[in-house]
């Protein structure tokens, strides 16, 4: 029986090659997109998985509540918190460990004492307990030695990089940050990319020298603290002890009320409020968005299938009738038709796998992640594909199977099943649903592209073009060389301006400090202090609106403030602020200038109150404004000059424009995804539409012929055939508009600077969808209307 059914299925598919092609094409593209989305989501969900007792691992993070209602969060904690937690929470937690991130130059000498490796590396100072909390795989050595200062543990990759062969690394030394040597006492297996703590070089925590070691008032995102709960203890149990803990240790008055949160390990990769050491965050919201798009894709393709299958059902009615006459039961017929669907879906899956393989590299590029399509590595992908095939077969196949198996045999054998049996109404509803999805995506894409363009063209308040940000090594020795270095840079042809500063005007590195204005007490908000020399305004083309520029100085003698700061202080006229005193970090100095507001963060956020002042110990970048025509050659000379001034350091540069674009990485990915998936869905929907109009045209051939004989013109006939489709797509537009409106207003609300929602994307989506519909159906209906009428009638 099965063999025979298979034969019938195959011969039917072959007979209706066109419809089969449309189905297979739609399903395989839809499934390929779904598989890609699944692979990506699986990768994102695999972060920080696989540790022993992972449910009991938490990170302690910080929050501040300000009296103006603002809240501020940090992934970091004050450094002294870890030992305090170890004492005060001992009834509840098994282990707690601090981990301090740092970056600097690692040097390795060969056996003759000659330098063989010098590179900038990311290192972590960790306590041995860290390895009691996270069970990494140890290849050799152990973490006991980290109890003492000056020991190091390396990942296999780093050991190989420094010593050629990881087996040789044990007992050797590396030099970090110029002054200290560390003995390698352990090697762990490489920590995979899907980890929020990308351990590669681990140093004894005891070797950490930080001026904030005992300071409860300073929090850096580089200082994190992890703990493991005791077995059987609920995290809620800790809230009362935490309250007492905070009361006990935060005794000084600060502008924000300090708080701490126990963040589960499983939350770290998804929570946007807090960062992490890997810099990879994937809000769950975005993953859900992708899932919805995947669902849309598969739904659109399934709708094509349902529509074409029910439309074709009549041609199978005789077969159904005959089978029933011979004693076939309805269940057997349902099984038969489902099997047919299953086969088509299976064929589509094979093609989808090939498409996935082809699309994977661009996907990896887009997300900058090492995702792989390997069944052996991730058998779950195979499970997903199996589930996908079963679901799609059921969604797409069940309804047509029920319709076809339900034909009355007495009618079916007399060919009396009308062509509209099996849901003409349903077909219309499905087309509307399909196009509502398509149009929502078209509108979404248009708005995302419009917003991206808006952001690109937003005046930043400064000019970021042709500015290179070059790392500036800053310690007591290098500071001496700053003047000479700056003078040499300025002499280079192609260099227009040079400014030494802590950050560019716009940066992801923003620190808040408490301050007081005009002899009053501390303001109830914090100010973002940017340290820079007197060339800062010139180099970045920042505009003064009152007062004058900073005068040349290595220390803080005067301040420039921005408009936002004055607004927050309720100072109406910028000129009124000139000469007023500001106390900041123990310095009380006058305001000499007011700078026009500039965007100091991504456009998701509004502008901070800002103070600009000189302070040479905090200059970490040399901002070099270049002549745009000879940027590349100039940068070579900049590098040479740099190396001659700081030979013991490693050169690093980036362009400000790239840095700013990086703020919008997430949006860029969203934009690309929407373009690609909207394109895909449009394609699937319209081939489906083409299939349906082909069917309608074929079904109405005789009617068209008779009308033509009676004198209808070709245009009138085309219009008649097109009519219902245009109405359906029009209704789909009406359905899509409120949906799209909800979606885009939600998305746009995440931007502090955003376009107003206008009618245009909606209108444009309508024009696009109606135009493509008109073209798609007209191609086919024109052919039907212009065909030779007599042929159609002769058949009777």
């Amino acid at each position: 029986m099965f063999k025979l059914n298979l034969k019938i299925a195959w011969r039917n598919l072959w007979k209706n090659k066109g419809y089969t092609l449309i189905n297979v094409l739609g399903l395989s593209i839809g499934m390929a997109s779904c598989i890609l989305i699944f692979i990506f989501i699986r990768y994102q969900m695999s972060f920080d998985e696989g540790f022993k007792d992972q449910d009991r691992i938490y990170r302690m993070v910080s929050s501040w509540d300000y009296s103006d209602g603002n809240q501020f969060y940090s992934q970091g904690v004050p450094i002294p918190i870890t030992p305090a937690v170890r004492d005060d929470f001992s009834p509840y937690i098994e282990k707690v460990s601090a981990i301090q991130n740092s970056g600097g130059i690692v040097k390795v000498n060969d056996q003759h004492g000659k330098e063989k490796v010098k590179s900038i590396e990311n290192v972590f100072y960790v306590e041995p307990d860290f390895f009691e909390i996270f069970n990494y795989k140890w290849l050799s050595g152990n973490y006991e030695s980290l109890k003492e200062p000056n020991h190091a543990v390396l990942s296999k990759e780093m050991a190989k990089k420094f010593f050629g062969n990881w087996n040789d690394a044990l007992g050797k030394t590396i030099n970090y940050d110029g002054n200290l040597n560390y003995i390698i006492t352990g090697i762990i297996d490489d920590v995979p990319e899907n980890n929020s703590v990308p351990l590669r070089i681990m140093l004894s925590y005891k070797s950490l020298k930080d001026r904030n070691l005992n300071n409860w008032g300073s929090v850096s995102s580089a200082s994190e603290s992890y703990f493991k709960l005791k077995r059987g203890i609920k995290i809620e149990t800790l809230s009362e002890p935490l309250r007492l803990f905070i009361k006990k240790y935060y005794t000084e008055k600060a502008p924000g009320k300090e708080g701490h949160i126990f963040q589960p390990l499983a939350d770290i990769h998804y929570n946007e409020r807090f960062g992490n050491f890997s810099g990879r965050i994937m809000p769950k919201k975005q993953l859900y968005g992708l899932m919805v798009i995947g669902l849309f894709l598969i739904l659109t393709a399934s709708i094509n299938f349902i529509n074409l299958a029910t439309a074709q059902a009549v041609s199978r009615s005789k077969e159904v009738g005959v089978r029933k006459v011979m004693g076939s039961q309805r269940g057997q017929l349902v099984t038969q038709f489902l099997t047919e669907t299953f086969i088509i879906v299976l064929i589509s899956l094979l093609i989808a796998s090939v498409l996935t393989e082809i699309a994977l590299p661009s996907m990896q590029n887009l997300f900058n992640a090492k995702i792989s399509f390997s069944f052996f590595q991730h058998p779950i992908i195979l499970v997903f594909m199996f589930v996908l095939v079963v679901c799609v077969s059921l969604i797409a196949g069940f309804y047509p199977a029920v319709i076809m198996s339900g034909f009355n045999p007495a009618l079916a054998i007399k060919n009396k099943i009308s062509a509209n049996t099996g849901g003409l109404g349903l077909r219309k509803v499905l087309v509307v649903v399909q196009f509502a999805i398509t149009i929502t995506l078209i509108i979404g894409t248009l708005v995302i592209l419009q917003q991206m363009k808006f952001i690109r063209e937003q005046p930043l308040g400064f000019n970021p073009t042709a500015i290179a940000m070059v790392d500036l090594p800053n310690d007591s020795l290098t500071v001496e060389r700053f003047n000479r270095f700056k003078a040499q840079l300025k002499q280079l042809p192609g260099v227009e301006e040079v400014s030494f500063c802590r950050t560019a005007p716009s940066s992801q590195n923003n620190n808040g400090s408490s301050f007081a204005y005009n002899n009053s007490k501390d303001a109830d908000f914090q100010v973002n202090a940017k340290n820079a020399d007197e060339d800062f305004l010139k180099t970045f083309d920042l505009k003064l609106i009152a007062g004058r520029n900073l005068s040349k100085s290595d220390s803080t003698n005067e301040f420039i403030v921005n408009e936002t700061l004055l607004k927050r202080l309720n100072v109406a006229k910028p000129a009124d602020a000139l000469g007023k005193m500001i106390s900041l970090g123990g310095q009380k100095k006058p305001i000499v200038g007011v700078v026009q507001d500039f965007k100091n963060k991504s456009l998701h956020e509004s502008i901070d109150p800002i103070i600009v002042c000189s302070r040479i110990e905090r200059y970490y970048y040399a901002a070099v404004k270049l002549n745009a025509k000879q940027m590349m050659t100039t940068m070579k000379s900049v590098e040479q000059v740099w190396k001659s001034n700081f030979p013991e350091f490693v050169y690093n540069e980036s362009f400000l424009n790239d840095d700013i674009n990086n703020f919008y990485q997430g949006e860029k990915i969203m934009g690309t995804l929407f373009k690609v998936f909207a394109g895909t869905i449009i394609f699937i929907s319209f081939i489906g539409l083409f299939g349906l109009i082909s069917f309608v045209a074929a079904q109405r051939t005789k009617e068209v012929a008779i009308r033509k004989v009676l004198g209808a013109s070709t245009i009138e006939l085309v219009r008649m055939l097109n009519g219902s489709f245009l109405i359906m797509v029009f209704i789909a537009n009406l359905v899509a508009w409120p949906l799209a409106y909800l979606f885009i207003s939600k998305w746009l609300s995440g931007f502090a600077y955003r376009i107003d929602i206008s009618i245009w994307p909606f209108a444009l989506a309508m024009v696009i969808s109606m135009a493509i519909t008109l073209i798609t159906v007209s191609i086919r209906s024109y052919k039907a209307a212009a065909a030779n009428t007599i042929d159609a009638l002769k058949y009777e």
Binding site: M1, L4, I8, K318, E319, G321, V325, M326, I413
Partner: protein, 232 residues
């Protein structure tokens, strides 16, 4: 073998109710060959469909060797049908996607006959029907007469107790029509009960008994003497 009593069948559409069968009483003995005649629209096909369990009547009784068939559920009806009945239609109703051999094989598959046995039975009937050299062809590649012979072969291959034929010669010229009628006669002679709807008195003359329907009633019955004498 068949006892039909007070059978009523009403078709309801949006506008009209058509009483297709209006109190039919009919007995058919085992081994009989009965023809049903009457004007177009008098309910012949409806009666045949009800007898074949393809359609359900509103009321009445239908006994087949003492089994009441009208109270069976769907599953029981299709089981009963595939074990006991064979059908021949005016428009052949062969499945276009299957070859002659596969078409004939289909009812055996539904009856769960093992593959080897199926092959033997199909080949046997193909030989008997004289269509051996056509067994790999598709229906569209055959003439009408050949198609109907395949349809008859398909009806016979399960060796049913009852064969129901609805205008089996309606779409055939007289030469091909006669061939089919001879086949049915041969079949009847081997003991199979046949009920046939026809418009042609020539075809009816092959049967033992002729029943005339009008407006859903049996208006007359006639024993076909010539044929019965022939039998004697």
């Amino acid at each position: 073998m068949i006892k039909i009593e007070n059978l009523e069948k009403v078709y309801k559409t949006e506008e009209v109710e058509t009483t297709a069968l209006n109190g039919i009483n009919l007995h058919v003995a085992a081994g009989e060959f009965v023809s049903i005649m009457g004007p177009s629209g008098c309910g012949k096909s409806t009666l045949l469909n009800v007898m074949g369990l393809l359609d359900k009547p509103e009321s009445g009784s239908y006994k087949f060797i003492d089994t009441e068939l009208l109270t069976l559920n769907d599953r029981e009806r299709s089981n009963f049908r595939k074990r006991n009945m064979g059908f021949v239609f005016q428009n052949f109703n062969l499945i276009d996607e299957l070859t002659v051999f596969e078409n004939i094989e289909l009812p055996l598959i539904y009856n769960k006959i093992p593959a080897g046995e199926r092959k033997r039975l199909v080949n046997e009937i193909i030989e008997r029907m004289n269509i051996v050299n056509r067994s790999g062809h598709f229906p569209q590649q055959l003439s009408g007469g050949q198609q109907q012979r395949v349809a008859v072969a398909r009806a016979l291959v399960t060796k049913p107790k009852l064969v129901l034929a609805d205008e089996p010669t309606g779409n055939l010229d007289s030469a091909h029509g006669n061939e089919v009628m001879e086949l049915l006669c041969e079949l009847n002679e081997t003991g199979t009960t046949i009920v046939m709807v026809t418009h042609s008195s020539h075809d009816a003359s092959f049967s033992n008994r002729i029943i005339n329907l009008k407006d859903g009633h049996v208006i007359s019955e006639k024993i076909n003497k010539s044929r019965n004498e022939e039998l004697i």
